[in-house]
């Protein structure tokens, strides 16, 4: 492959320094992405730490100037799914942890709509959820999200579109697991909050 550059360039400490700076800046984003994959905050931080470690160890294979955020997100995602594959027991634990988290965020002080959005997200298929998070919250272009998820751009587009429609339907009908809330309340709260937020920004 590397016919053009037969000489193996030595990594300088300034390369490492620059790489590390970039990696440190990405840690908060990696934590947020891990949280959406795992649900459980402690598990999510373990995953994010593993990803940071892997990224650091693989720094020689990162091409400076390319999209480091997408590169690290891809590492984190691969780590997540390879851990899940390693044992089905683990995924059972994930499920329990996710349920614990949903209960945990159900405190009366938490903003209602955010809680319901989390529950709505939890009801989506994993591949739709991650596509929506990457594009809708992570700030990635469809092309970048496709690279991270190792699939075609059209697939990402269709997953995001289906996720949006499904989430909309879930929130609109109040079709999430929650007792006591009337149908349509979630959507109304979200609309009101979004209006307030958009005037602030």
């Amino acid at each position: 492959m590397d016919v053009e550059t037969p000489k193996r360039p030595e990594r300088s400490s300034t390369d490492d320094e620059g790489f590390k700076k970039g990696l440190v800046q990405l840690i908060p984003h990696l934590r947020a992405f891990a949280r959406t994959l795992c649900g459980d905050p402690t598990q999510a931080d373990d995953l994010a730490q593993d990803a940071v470690m892997k990224a650091w160890d693989a720094r020689a294979s990162f091409q400076m100037g390319t999209n480091m955020k997408a590169w690290t997100f891809m590492i984190l995602r691969n780590q997540f799914y390879s851990e899940k594959r390693r044992s089905w027991r683990q995924s059972q634990l994930d499920q329990e942890a996710a349920e614990r988290t949903l209960v945990a965020v159900d405190d009366p002080e938490a903003p209602v709509a955010l809680d319901e959005l989390r529950q709505g997200l939890a009801m989506l298929p994993a591949e739709q959820r991650e596509a929506l998070i990457l594009v809708g919250a992570g700030g990635f272009a469809y092309e970048e999200a496709a690279e991270i998820c190792n699939c075609a751009v059209g697939t990402v587009k269709s997953r995001v579109s289906r996720a949006r429609r499904a989430l909309h339907a879930i929130l609109d009908t109040g079709d999430y697991d929650r007792d006591g809330a009337s149908a349509g309340d979630a959507m109304r709260t979200i609309l009101a909050d979004a209006e307030r937020l958009s005037t602030v920004r």
Binding site: Q49, A137, Y142, V160, I190, S198
Partner: protein, 81 residues
């Protein structure tokens, strides 16, 4: 719901919209597609804002020390090599 890949923003696919317009042509109360689209767009925007807020909430948290510890360890490993 169909699995079309063309509609990217959660709007109803154009074809279905056209179909419903034809179907409603002779009805007493014709639908107002533009208002319905605006409504749907507004709702999707609202979900988008919430989604970003949820994500940013974690982004804005203080990074636990363990993360920086990893990179400090990585440093000393690099020096020992």
């Amino acid at each position: 719901m169909n699995n079309d890949e063309t509609d990217t923003r959660g709007r109803p696919p154009r074809k279905r919209l056209a179909d419903s317009m034809i179907e409603n042509r002779h009805s007493a109360e014709p639908r107002k597609p533009s208002a319905a689209i605006d409504e749907a767009r507004l709702r999707q925007q609202a979900i988008g804002v919430r989604l970003r807020q949820m994500f940013d909430e974690v982004v804005n948290e203080a990074v636990p020390d363990e993360f920086l510890e990893i990179l400090r360890r990585g440093d000393s490993k690099a020096e020992n090599n």
